[in-house]
């Protein structure tokens, strides 16, 4: 399930717990006719292949990733440089694009931006880079941190668990958007050898990831708690296995499925958060394009030039929808209780 962070939704993570599988080792979904043993991952893969919506989502995701990677090539073929002004495309009196539909033409596929006439197509293509990069990296950061701390809290228990759980509670109660805008607004332009956009991207990744880990941590902690007293863990302990060995070889493999599900569903959430922060002016800085930032520019002009608002909005929508479709599919496929 997505956590649409349009307005920080507190409880979304719980929804994922409900849908998350117990452990891939549970043999519930084995098909009747199969005689040879199949690993849970094979079963999941078979299920995923049958899920048309998930495949459609995966297809769009791959397409978007390719667009992001080959942005310079695509823009070189079909567009104009993303920060090039085309004032000749703008009605000097109203500041709106000449021609109907926001200045859409064979030359400017998605029209031009009001006032300065930048190519909307190029900015959308380059905007995909920011969206996907920030969302991916932040998800990785959150998952790594959340998994490590969640396992530690769940496995060791006692005061470690109490302390980590309180930290997670505080973080979940913290107004993330507000905090991030405040933090980003005071960041210097140059930091540790990064320039303007680099600083902002790094800040976005760190902040989004940092506020994301408690959601992962809560799930991993809960799963670890329920796994740690299973017989096979006890067996490993009685055979003299060390704590690290048990964490790595007995617990982690059984946590991979819920973590995979959550990581997949975290990406669309992060895309929405990045867009929201850019919309509020805390994203990458203006010459660099991002979808949320385009929408925040459009808020003053959408009545006269609706297309400039609709296009970046749909870019976000399609991207998030594709990731959600794929993520839902992965979740259903990995759910040992699932029958779809």
């Amino acid at each position: 399930m997505t956590a649409p962070l349009h307005e920080k939704s507190a409880g979304e993570a719980t929804a994922t717990v409900d849908g998350a599988p117990d452990a891939p080792g549970t043999p519930g979904g084995a098909p009747v006719k199969a005689i040879e043993g199949r690993s849970p991952w094979q079963i999941a893969w078979t299920r995923l292949k049958r899920d048309k919506l998930a495949l459609a989502g995966a297809f769009i995701v791959v397409f978007l990733v390719l667009v992001a990677i080959f942005a310079p090539v695509i823009v070189g073929l079909l567009g104009h440089p993303p920060d090039e002004f085309h004032e000749d495309q703008i009605d000097p009196l109203f500041g709106t694009p000449i021609g109907s539909w926001g200045g859409v033409s064979s030359d400017f596929l998605f029209g031009v931006e009001p006032v300065n006439g930048r190519d909307v197509f190029s900015r959308i293509v380059y905007g995909a880079r920011i969206s996907l990069l920030v969302a991916f990296l932040a998800a990785v950061f959150a998952v790594v941190l959340g998994t490590i701390l969640g396992i530690i809290a769940g496995y060791f228990g006692g005061w470690i668990d109490a302390a980590l759980s309180r930290v997670m509670d505080v973080m979940l109660a913290f107004p993330q958007l507000l905090f991030t805008i405040a933090l980003v607004s005071v960041l210097p332009n140059q930091l540790l050898g990064l320039d303007g956009s680099g600083v902002r991207i790094a800040a976005l990744v760190l902040v989004i990831g940092f506020f994301g880990w408690p959601y992962v941590g809560r799930i991993v902690r809960g799963q670890t708690l329920s796994l740690r007293n299973r017989e096979y863990v006890e067996a490993a302990q009685s055979l003299g296995a060390g704590r690290l060995y048990i964490l790595r070889r007995e617990l982690l493999p059984n946590l991979i499925a819920p973590i995979t599900v959550y990581a997949t569903l975290m990406i669309p959430t992060n895309i929405l958060t990045e867009a929201a922060l850019s919309f509020l002016g805390a994203g990458v800085k203006p010459p660099t394009a991002s979808w949320g930032q385009m929408l925040s520019t459009a808020i003053t002009t959408y009545e006269s030039d609706p297309l400039f608002m609709v296009i970046p909005g749909f870019a976000i929508f399609i991207t998030v929808l594709a990731f959600n479709l794929f993520g839902d599919g992965v979740r259903d496929a990995l759910d040992p209780k699932g029958s779809r």
Partner: protein, 332 residues
């Protein structure tokens, strides 16, 4: 029960203190990191060092972090005196200090903004709870049918739309194209009709997103509950289906919904920043943005604290309600 409440309230207070301290320390460290100075901002652009220093002392910005923290916290409970240049200004409790920019009393700014946010959130919450839960229940009961699939695809689209985009689309369609609902916010005390008309579009927009989330969650929970043994038992002992669903299944379905409802409500009351920005409503979220963009420390501190307070208090209320709804839950 009483001991439980007391213990939880104690935890709430500690948590709020931590949030305040963290926010304050961020802004305490900023001048050191970036060279920007809150006192200089209070004075304005053409400030001479002497008056900056005077303001710094007056606002207590020259004091160590923990002393500032203490002044802020005690100001909330007993009020606070600002002394500088011979005269003293008393700020009565609950005192959140004065805005660096407008020199307004932050408490009164909060009091002005709160009804806007509260009206918007409560109205939307009523809508989304009815819409979302009923859609989810119907979807779960009609699982696999065309109704279920249509509802779930709509819900998935709903959770994939950024709210500020939905808001702009709604305004484009209803206000610009159709010319409806053009009214801006009017307090309910002035005109109930105007209040309703001004907030209808924000309500629908916000409720659409949350109804989509709640429909998905309700469906998933309901399906899980329907697979439980006690539902089979209830059916096996011959209870009529409405009783099985209404009394047995709905109770457990509502438990997780309620948790999330409480948390969402708390988070939104503390600042529906995006919705308020998109609809130009001047609520707490608007104040938050204003505070941040103008680096108005007292305003930021106050809004952050209120938001966090709403979230943790909502959680507490939810946990207490648990015991009422779910007979399996016993508070200890």
């Amino acid at each position: 029960m009483l001991a439980y409440i007391v213990r939880r309230l104690f935890a709430v207070v500690v948590m709020l203190l931590v949030v305040t301290l963290v926010t304050l320390s961020i802004f305490f460290l900023i001048p050191k990191l970036t060279g920007s100075d809150p006192a200089a901002m209070f004075v304005g652009k053409q400030a001479d060092p002497a008056s900056i220093e005077a303001v710094r002392q007056k606002l207590g910005l020259d004091e160590p972090l923990l002393v500032q923290f203490w002044h802020f916290v005690s100001g909330i409970f007993v009020g606070r005196d600002y002394t500088g240049g011979g005269d003293t200004i008393h700020c009565a409790a609950p005192c959140f200090g004065y805005s660096f920019r407008t020199e307004q009393d932050v408490s009164s700014m909060l009091v002005d903004a709160f009804p806007v946010t509260l009206s918007m959130v409560i109205g939307a919450a009523v809508l989304w709870l009815i819409l979302g839960v009923s859609t989810g229940v119907v979807s779960a009961l009609k699982r696999g049918t065309i109704i279920d699939r249509a509802a779930m695809i709509t819900a998935l689209a709903g959770v994939s739309l950024p709210i500020f985009f939905t808001a702009m689309l709604a305004m484009l369609i209803f206000r610009t194209q159709l010319g409806w609902l053009n009214a801006s916010y009017v307090p309910i005390t002035e005109s109930v009709g105007g209040w309703f008309g001004g907030l209808l579009l924000p309500w629908v927009t916000l409720a659409f997103l949350y109804a989509a989330m709640y429909a998905r969650l309700t469906r998933a929970t309901m399906l899980e509950v329907l697979g439980e043994d006690y539902i089979r038992t209830a059916r096996a002992k011959g209870l009529p289906e409405p009783v099985v669903l209404g009394k047995h299944a709905m109770r457990s379905t509502m438990t997780p919904i309620l948790t999330i409802f409480g948390m969402d409500l708390g988070a939104l009351v503390g600042g529906a920043i995006l919705t308020e920005t998109a609809f130009s409503l001047h609520g707490l979220g608007g104040l938050a943005i204003k505070g941040v963009s103008e680096r108005d420390l007292p305003l930021i501190l106050a809004v952050t604290l209120i938001t966090a307070a709403c979230v943790v208090l909502a959680n507490l209320v939810v946990d207490l309600l648990y015991a009422v709804i779910d007979p399996r839950v016993r508070l200890a």
